[in-house]
């Protein structure tokens, strides 16, 4: 693109003094007091033999007043004195950082020349977007609209630097409620899905919903203003909700009501249960055991269980045969061991493992199904994300907002680890996955003990881009997130920031004016740092086209939890609306709840044509309850001998 001077009006002139010289990286210019530019505006300086693009970082205004005292004297001490007939001479002096020089070499100080506002074409050049946002295939990802001084220009991110392999990861930062972090990520995900070149591979997103209904309605359209639609058009993004979304949520403790706010009858059946058995959990037991629990002995015993026991036929020393597939099976094995040791005269070692270690591991493991009830089942069967069958341009929402911290850690660790495993084997179904994690400061804190989750996040930050797992992390305070996690994010986005946070060392590179702007950013405006941009740039973005959480629950109020049998009917009806409630209730009447849950899960997983028949088959034949002494059932079992109570009155 030719760097020709055009008819853009001159708004200022570069000035340089000994105290404020122009350098190859920074310059100063003055403007009239009435000027369209502000902090973050991109300007162009046309010298004789070079063009320089800069972004305004700071501004000063001062008059020829020597001391404020003279102002007092001039007003005779009366602040209400009539306005002076002449306004003092004053200056608007702006400081700009160089974004780009043309020609790039030799790098020289900025010429003392006229300053113009950047045109949209200038913005493309200034941010070096011409390297990837022009020509075919473009594939550049629009992140927002640069808007300053009447100039509006789309700002694109380089897909290779956002999603790998050159650089990767995105970190978004800002105060809750005002920084619009989730909205920004959702808009960006839309842009990624619409613009990421198919030639670069298939892409999916896994979003962890960690609070409220934030991500619960991504498939539902939101009401957008004309301004939003205008921005969508300018950014070449279709204002549509995600058309392929899969929701997953664990059950509540009752094992039948889903632990999510997306339970409105109209949305019934759209949430898949997330249920894991022993096999799914055991590999990530480190997540569930606290730091003090983990020692070499416990580790060795856990390895023993994983390698030699779970999923394999196992015969104990006392002849007992075990096929451990579930927590229930595991508990039976532990019981057999303790009973065997007791019978052997109180021995305290079993296969080189001390009984105390066995007891500790047993307590922790068996406790998992209690602490994570609803997510972890005592049974062997679970229901998982479709690892291996991920679909292109699909969002997988894992709703763990209602799960306690331990459960969230487990879900998060296991899902990301499974994504890594499958991507490593190239059998996930897609080549790229964006993992969106909010509240990153909780999972990868800067301080505190080393946790399995943090280790996994660090690994993901440092090596994920080679595999195709990209972390989109969000948090309120960047300073509270591990340095290596935020430091590895190639693209950083800032919404409205807290002043205390801005006072931390990580923000020293920002000018005071930029900090003030960040502290007062309106909703829908962000500051973006990207490897191609030599300075941060402010952009605006439209509201997401998907219904946001709060509006979602207003439009689709969650259904109240229902009784066990009604919940079963509701879940089966979600698979087939014709399911007769009375028939289902008859089927489960008198059945053990665990048996019903197991049959229900199997039915959901199989999604059979005849739901009721399949469910009934999995439930098995009913074992009739028989009351002893009931003439209706005959008297073929002798009643227990009645012992007279000597203390009875």
């Amino acid at each position: 693109m030719a760097l020709t001077r055009d008819s853009v009006p001159v708004i200022g002139r570069v000035v340089a003094t000994e105290a404020l010289p122009a350098s190859p990286h920074q310059f100063h210019f003055w403007t009239p007091t009435a000027t369209p530019i502000g902090i973050g505006a991109i300007v162009r300086v046309d010298g004789e033999d070079r063009t320089v693009f800069g972004v305004v970082l700071d501004a000063r205004a001062y008059s020829d007043l020597v001391t404020p005292l003279h102002e007092v004297i001039g007003a005779e001490g009366d602040p209400g004195a009539p306005t002076a007939p002449t306004r003092r001479a004053e200056i608007r002096l702006w400081t700009a950082a160089v974004l780009r020089q043309e020609p790039e070499e030799p790098l020289q100080p900025v010429p003392l020349a006229r300053v113009r506002l950047a045109t949209p074409a200038d913005v493309t050049l200034a941010l070096r977007m011409d390297a990837y946002a022009q020509g075919e295939p473009r594939g550049a990802i629009p992140v927002g609209l640069y808007a300053a001084g009447g100039t509006r220009a789309p700002v694109w991110l380089d897909p290779d630097f956002l999603l790998g392999p050159e650089s990767a990861h995105l970190n978004i930062n800002g105060v809750s409620g005002l920084a619009t972090k989730t909205s920004a990520v959702l808009f960006l995900l839309s842009a990624v899905f619409q613009h990421f070149p198919r030639a670069k591979g298939r892409i999916a997103a896994v979003c962890f919903n960690v609070k409220g209904p934030d991500l619960g309605f991504l498939d539902r359209p939101a009401a957008l203003t004309p301004q939003d639609l205008e921005m969508y058009a300018a950014l070449d993004v279709a204002p549509e909700p995600f058309d392929q979304v899969r929701f997953y949520a664990p059950y509540k403790a009752d094992g039948v009501n889903l632990n999510t706010l997306r339970t409105h009858p109209e949305l019934a059946g759209s949430v898949e249960p997330l249920v894991w058995g022993l096999r799914e959990v055991l590999d990530y037991s480190e997540v569930l055991l606290n730091r003090d629990d983990i020692d070499a002995k416990a580790d060795a015993f856990l390895d023993f269980l994983a390698d030699r026991v779970v999923g394999k036929p196992f015969v104990d020393e006392w002849g007992g045969r075990h096929a451990v597939e579930s927590f229930g099976d595991l508990e039976r094995l532990f019981r057999a061991i303790f009973d065997g040791l007791e019978a052997a005269g109180g021995r305290d070692m079993w296969r080189t493992h001390h009984v105390a270690t066995i007891r500790k591991v047993r307590n922790r493991l068996m406790n998992i199904s209690t602490r994570c009830k609803g997510l972890v089942t005592d049974d062997a069967d679970g229901n998982d994300l479709p690892f291996g069958a991920f679909e292109d341009r699909t969002v997988y929402v894992v709703d763990v907002a209602g799960v306690d911290q331990l459960g969230q850690d487990l879900v998060f660790t296991r899902v990301v680890s499974k994504l890594r495993e499958h991507l490593e084997r190239r059998d996930l179904g897609v080549e790229h996955v964006v993992a969106f994690v909010d509240e990153l400061n909780k999972y990868a804190p800067a301080d505190g003990p080393e946790t399995y989750v943090r280790k996994m996040l660090l690994d993901l930050s440092e090596r994920g881009r080679y595999l195709g797992v990209v972390l989109f992390g969000a948090q309120q305070f960047r300073s509270q997130v591990h340095r290596r996690v935020v430091g590895n994010a190639g693209t950083t986005v800032y919404g409205r920031m807290d002043m205390d946070e801005l006072a931390t060392p990580g923000y020293q590179i920002l000018s005071p004016a930029t900090k003030i702007k960040l502290a007062t950013l309106p909703k829908g405006e962000l500051m973006v740092r990207h490897p191609h941009f030599t300075q941060p740039v402010f952009v605006r973005f439209p509201r997401p086209a998907s219904l946001q959480g709060r509006q979602g629950v207003e439009q689709f109020p969650p259904a109240a939890d229902v009784a066990f049998d009604d919940a079963v009917v509701r879940q089966l009806a979600a698979l087939d609306r014709r399911v007769p409630a009375a028939r289902v209730k008859d089927l489960i009447a008198g059945r053990r709840e665990d048996d019903v849950r197991r049959a229900l899960l199997a039915t959901r997983r199989a999604r059979p044509h005849d739901v009721v028949a399949f469910f009934a088959a999995r439930l098995g034949p009913a074992v009739r309850r028989q009351t002893i002494g009931d003439p209706a059932h005959g008297a073929d079992v002798a009643p227990l001998r009645t012992v007279e109570d000597p203390y009875a009155p």
Partner: protein
């Protein structure tokens, strides 16, 4: 090659000596004319007259001032060769903001031409600058020669100011113009009756005895009775003293300005109103100038403008 360089080279070529050429703006001079005649035209004796609350002057008011810069570029023998630049501008005030409405600039050499040899004259003629006769007389004197040059420079500056003022008054037939100094020099300029002179220096005293005392001890916010003084060429101006700032604990002349207008119908009647306009100019203070108590801020601004425009003239 700069003009300065041309002058200095011409001097050297013609056998002159090149000096350091330090830039100056004024030469010290004694009080040339300490006393002058005037007649009181408002009552019998001079008294203090309260002018009322300050009132901002009419929109579009102009302010004219000039600057001068000179340098002794060298000598032919002992005869100084002075290069000078004079400039004047009228800044017009609209909505509180001053903008240039008229401007006049001149750069020239001033030398006692009679003392130059034909070769020296030819050398200076080769420099593309007008040569102004400094009229220093046939007998050289280092101080008087320089003084004579400064006289020429000041005259040219006055001329520049007059020129800028004339253009402004012609272009703005309803506008008032505030002049830094007396107004008698503008007598020939059409529209000069709209000129208000604000004189800061009080080298020439027009009053005496109790009239003088009354004028020099005016309380703040008052003016003296008006009097008529006669300027160069017999031009008469109506004048009065105006105390801008209290002088107690300060010098007698602290905050004392002399306002004058050409003798014209209504000049005396509007003395209070014009005084209120001038009084309103106390704020903002021209606090970068030691004469801030008498220098109106817009005048100061004209000077700043002219110096900025001259840049690093040398």
């Amino acid at each position: 090659m700069t003009v300065r360089g041309n002058v200095r080279r011409a001097l050297a070529r013609a056998g002159g000596s090149v000096a350091r050429g330090l830039a100056r703006e004024a030469a010290r001079q004694p009080v040339g004319r300490p006393f002058a005649e005037a007649r009181v035209v408002e009552g019998r004796d001079v008294r203090a007259i309260p002018v009322g609350d300050p009132v901002t002057g009419p929109e579009g008011m102009g302010f004219v001032d000039g600057i001068q810069q000179f340098a002794v570029e060298g000598h032919f023998g002992v005869t100084p060769i002075v290069r000078a630049r004079v400039a004047a501008a009228v800044l017009e005030r609209r909505e509180g903001t001053l903008r240039c409405a008229a401007r006049s600039v001149e750069e020239f050499l001033t030398v006692p031409c009679g003392r130059l040899t034909p070769a020296q004259r030819e050398a200076l003629d080769g420099v593309e600058l007008p040569i102004r006769e400094s009229d220093a007389g046939p007998r050289p004197h280092p101080l008087l020669d320089r003084w004579a040059a400064v006289q020429v420079i000041e005259q040219r500056r006055d001329r520049c100011e007059r020129d800028a003022a004339a253009r402004f008054l012609a272009a703005r037939p309803d506008a008032w113009l505030v002049v830094d100094g007396g107004v008698t020099g503008l007598a020939a300029v059409p529209g000069a009756e709209r000129a208000i002179g604000v004189v800061k220096s009080h080298e020439t005293q027009f009053l005496e005895a109790t009239d003088l005392e009354a004028a020099l001890t005016l309380p703040a916010g008052t003016r003296s009775s008006a009097f008529v003084r006669r300027g160069a060429g017999g031009v008469e101006a109506t004048s009065w003293y105006l105390r801008l700032w209290p002088w107690s604990e300060e010098d007698l002349l602290h905050g004392l300005a002399r306002v004058e207008r050409l003798m014209a119908r209504g000049a005396l009647d509007s003395a209070d109103e014009v005084s209120r306009w001038v009084l309103a100019e106390r704020s903002p203070i021209a606090d970068r100038d030691p004469r801030w108590d008498r220098l109106l801020y817009p005048m100061h601004h004209v000077e700043v403008y002219l110096r900025a425009e001259a840049g690093g003239w040398h």
